[in-house]
Symmetry: C2
Subunit: 703 residues, 2 copies
């Protein structure tokens, strides 16, 4: 699917993030007050543009000429910061619009995060911003900084700890506290954040706009994002698509994953938390890596600063400790990083040098190498050249810090890396004093090798996503879908789905018992009989399904029995007869479904039937529509996939047909539009390979 970039384009945030002039409404002469901090910061750091304090009570603010009102400003500022009480904020926004200002950062709190009256005021604020075409950040936000131009439109106190150091991390955060926490934690590690944008209540500018701006801005190479809830999908999806196309990795912390967290997220903001599984599916789709902890976010962002993203990532490990090699192998398996063995000849070569080394991968060169430093070079070179790994993790524990060996090891490692600059070179060592030296040579350094492995895995995931962006898939063709006016019967639901490419079990409707017998004879025994009524959705609950109906007499008897049961349990229901269907045995039962996510629209689901879905939640989700290749990836990601793949002596199931049906269902849902509330195809019976799959039951729910 091609991304939909909003008409104005993400560059419409330029005045917010790259202004040439800044007005501060509610400017304070006190550098530590909210209305004083931006001015103090920009003065101290030398912002080159004009700063216009607005304060009716003062002639100057922090030594700058002050203006009594917005109207009195000498020009329309590129951006204005609103730092006045809530009661005055909307009027200030309107004044700014009339003055011609098109970008506003609103620090002021007391809106949707507070109460219903605040939410109403925020709606008014949005309307005023839209009326003037203002890009409005906030309210209730901590603002923006762009260190490249020394613009600090923020009242964060983080700078008390230090100014940003050089680097090209961009932070996009709904939470001001968390956004600046990331900035500060990165700073402590020497990782440079150039741009930080916090969106607060998102009355107008939302996280997607900010991600999109960063995706196209040269100030930013690597994006750290924090979200509590995604409020709109269009710009968000477009931003993820653009970031992927521009090879800018996004590492995201999306909180509210747990039930506990979900409850807290709702009490914290007015977010639509959405279904976490859907958010996860969208992030997966675009190769966004979701960090589980803040530390992991920083590890991944740090690793990404090398800008080496191997599309087919393999890990070679060179270790001076066999134990660490085992530990790293465990971590690689857990993270899903491939560690193919070294070629046999290379192993033989290394074994000839150190008989008791373990040269497979991990390549354990043993402490023996410390007696002959040339060996280190030979081993490292072999891992790179012979092994051909895209990522190389070298474990040296405290050896790297040694008084004698440390400097020599550094020189050797520097040389090897320079000979293979396209690899992701990672050092794991206990040598705090050496970290900056190795980093300066292009190495990543992690004390803990397990953390290094997690970061290396993420680089491969980014690489795979970027490669996918280069070979865009053909658009999924959408069928013509004409939904009926009211909830369709099972038969109608199945024929609608069959027309769209989700085949149904061969069946015929019969309005009397002899028609049922004729249908059964045409289909072949045994058959299944089901009551046919638009008013009875869950047939089995009233005994409305008969299995193993074996001959004509049984069909006649069953027909009467079903009608009796329907009259008894649902006397008001309109009865159209019975459905006569082929009984299929030996199939794997799957469940397909579609539901409408409030943010991301129709989402398709696939799972193995019964307990797999109900007890284990073993399902896979994806936004509709998607092609059969993606459908097959979803199917293969199920924990229960072995059941389709010949486990327990079964024949392999027709996964290709299942993937076609799932993709077709996704196209149906995309074509059907918002009146489609949901679809359940349960069970979908998947026969052995080559024999197809058939919907045995289907429910379509309309809004």
């Amino acid at each position: 699917m091609s991304a939909v970039v909003p008409p104005s384009g993400f560059a419409s945030l330029d005045p917010l993030v790259r202004p040439r002039s800044v007005a501060v409404i509610g400017a304070s002469d006190e550098p530590a007050r909210i209305g004083g901090r931006p001015i103090a910061y920009m003065k101290e750091r030398g912002f080159a543009g004009a700063i216009y304090p607005v304060n009716p009570k003062r002639a100057t603010v922090q030594g700058l000429q002050a203006y009594p009102s917005i109207d009195a400003l000498p020009e329309a500022p590129d951006v204005a910061i609103i730092a006045v009480p809530a009661a005055l904020a909307i009027a200030a926004l309107d004044d700014l619009g009339r003055k011609g200002c098109r970008a506003v950062i609103c620090f002021t709190a007391g809106f949707a995060e507070m109460d219903d009256a605040g939410a109403l005021a925020q709606l008014e604020m949005t309307a005023v911003a839209r009326k003037h075409g203002i890009r409005l950040l906030g309210p209730n936000c901590l603002g923006v900084f762009n260190d490249a131009i020394r613009f600090y439109g923020t009242f964060t106190a983080s700078f008390e700890k230090g100014w940003p150091v050089p680097g090209r991390i961009g932070i996009a955060s709904q939470s001001g506290a968390y956004g600046t926490h990331i900035f500060s934690a990165a700073l402590d590690r020497g990782i440079g954040t150039q741009v930080c944008i916090t969106t607060g209540n998102e009355a107008e500018v939302a996280l997607g706009d900010v991600l999109g701006w960063m995706a196209q801005a040269p100030e930013v190479d690597v994006i750290c994002a924090y979200a509590e809830g995604i409020r709109e999908s269009e710009q968000f999806i477009a931003a993820l698509d653009l970031a992927r196309a521009n090879r800018k990795p996004i590492v995201m912390m999306k909180v509210g994953r747990s039930q506990l967290g979900g409850a807290a997220a709702k009490s914290h903001t007015a977010s639509i938390a959405g279904d976490d599984a859907v958010t996860q599916a969208v992030l997966d789709e675009y190769g966004v890596v979701r960090a589980r902890t803040t530390e992991e976010m920083l590890d991944i962002a740090y690793a990404a600063t090398r800008r080496i993203y191997p599309a087919k990532n393999t890990l070679g490990v060179l270790t001076v400790s066999g134990g660490a090699g085992v530990l790293i192998s465990d971590a690689a398996e857990a993270a899903g990083v491939a560690m193919p063995p070294m070629p046999e000849e290379a192993q033989a070569k290394l074994r000839a040098l150190i008989p008791f080394c373990a040269p497979r991968n991990p390549v354990d060169c043993t402490a023996q190498v410390t007696n002959d430093l040339k060996l280190i070079s030979t081993f490292a070179e072999s891992v790179a050249a012979d092994g051909g790994y895209t990522s190389i993790l070298s474990f040296w524990s405290q050896t790297a810090a040694g008084r004698s060996l440390g400097p020599k090891l550094h020189e050797i490692m520097k040389g090897v890396r320079e000979a293979y600059p396209d690899r992701l070179w990672v050092m794991s060592m206990l040598a705090p004093n050496k970290v900056r030296e190795y980093e300066a040579d292009g190495w990543l350094v992690f004390e803990d090798p397990s953390r290094a492995v997690v970061a290396i895995e993420a680089m491969g995931r980014f690489g795979a996503a970027f490669a996918k962006a280069r070979t865009p898939q053909a658009a999924v063709p959408l069928p013509q879908v004409a939904l009926p006016g009211t909830t369709p019967s099972e038969a109608v639901a199945k024929s609608l789905l069959a027309a769209a490419g989700v085949p149904a079990v061969p069946e015929h409707a019969a309005s009397d018992s002899e028609a049922a017998v004729a249908a059964a004879e045409a289909i072949g025994y045994p058959v299944v009989l089901k009551i046919l009524s638009p008013d009875i959705v869950h047939k089995s609950e009233i005994g409305g399904v008969l299995l193993d109906v074996a001959d004509a007499d049984a069909v006649r008897h069953g027909f009467g029995l079903l009608l009796d049961r329907a009259r008894q349990h649902a006397p008001a229901a309109k009865i159209e007869g019975v459905l006569v269907a082929k009984q299929i045995k030996g199939a794997v039962e799957m469940a397909l479904g579609v539901f409408r996510d409030p943010v991301f629209g129709p989402v398709a689901m696939v799972g193995l039937g019964g307990i797999f879905i109900e007890i284990l939640k073993d399902v896979s989700f994806r936004r509709c529509p998607f092609d059969t290749a993606e459908a097959e990836r979803m199917i293969r990601s199920l924990r229960g996939f072995p059941l389709l793949d010949g486990a327990r002596g079964r024949p392999k199931a027709d996964v290709a047909a299942l993937a076609r049906a799932l993709s077709a269902l996704s196209a149906f849902a995309a074509a059907a539009g918002p009146r489609l509330a949901g679809v359940d195809v349960n069970p979908l019976l998947v026969l052995p390979a080559g024999q197809g799959c058939y919907a045995a039951d289907a429910v379509i729910e309309l809004a």
Copy 2:
């Protein structure tokens, strides 16, 4: 079960770790050589005991009088270090034994880790040690240090980075490189290791001995252990038991968890890697916390240095950022730490102070508190006093580092902690300059709150294990078991198990068809018929099981059919007739089993039947025997447990009866002795609560 402490007791390692005199065989005048380092270290740090260098070529070594031979030593040293080539090591060991030395540390490599000849030499070394009653550490080990007495019987180069700092961590490691890596990584964090013992090839002293010594040694409060494979169970189990009884937490890195890692572990050492699931079950049994990464090991060891281990751990969170609160809630749910809400009255009290705070738990006091510092104190006090949490995590991001607020916050927090010194107080902040100050006041400090949560969870797990040790369970009574001479038939297997407390489905053996009919009439229809033969183990594979046998005629027909099939598919089998069994419907199918682990002996397993075991590996293990309470814990730990607990509209299953059967099976296995190779009870049919459970099939395999 009461622990079996070896006859000599763990204190038999005292001379190894707390010697009053040390001989170094192969002593070197060069302080950087393997035979020189221990002497150099002990001289530099002032070891108070005698040091006897043995070197036939020198009169002095590093300024100390040298001795030409072991025989020439003025006394039998408490401990001797062997640092001579492999060819001379065994003779040196024998000489030491004759001299009267009873503790030896063997640095020398070239034994079982090398090749078969080395393995043979190592066996000889073990025999020599045993002959003299020597406790032998190594060979191929990095040695021991005990900083309390400045004894450094090790050639590690780690001390180049710095000497141990005060602290009471004990490191017990099979790998020398990894053991000193942990020491060095802990040192970088300011965590003090007092004792470090590396076991190398474990020719005599194994990891269990070392853990046991630490469990009773006052030098050690907290144990960090590293293992690649556990070689013997008796001392190991006794050590875990003693450590638990003495409230000494063990955090263990056991590598080889993955298939990849398992392969690497085998090429790295001669370990019996054992089944990782069994090791995990043993560690769980004694409350050993298994670290997933080195960093996690250090985090947990660091947290344990406070020696606060809440048996019923609850977490209260005080945060200045709502976003961080959500993130911490997610982490707590993932780790399994309970975060009960604050009492309603306390919430109301806090809400009266800051209307827009979120006082539930996490207690988000909002940045508002920074305007009125008394509020911080009130909020923190309320979390401790009103919330009553055993662990309290306080998140302050970079606020704690602020020039103005930082010192004031510190003073407030110090006061609150002092009022509630029994709680585990944890600070999460970005204030590297403040860490040591908070630690000095008794706080734990973690930059990343997610890591703090993982460490807090571990403290609760230790506490629960220590509490369990205080209320020892009654010994599980073992039944009388007389195993037959050859593999028993299904009927015999079931009667053996039934006698031991695992009930079987009502059934009778019938040698002719009329006896089968009589049995069926007694049991009640429908029945199941199964071929009865000691030679046919897997009946269903030859069509030897008939279900739904509904009346006398069907029994007669089935009897003949089964005999025909048996003659056709297994003509040589001895056929004893058929089994007639009650057919049970509507039960949950479980699988129970026993297998013999080469290290830990009989291990019982429980899982839900069918795909749960075969595809999802959803099983729980435990060493035999164990009581019904433990059996029920195993059952409840299954992911598929909801199937037993009334999911999908089922009645709740008889979990109590299932637990009794599982515990009884474990007692049977423990009583049966080593001839019992395995037991499979599959399926075990569990009826609704109060109706019991029945083994429908059972196989007993003999060695």
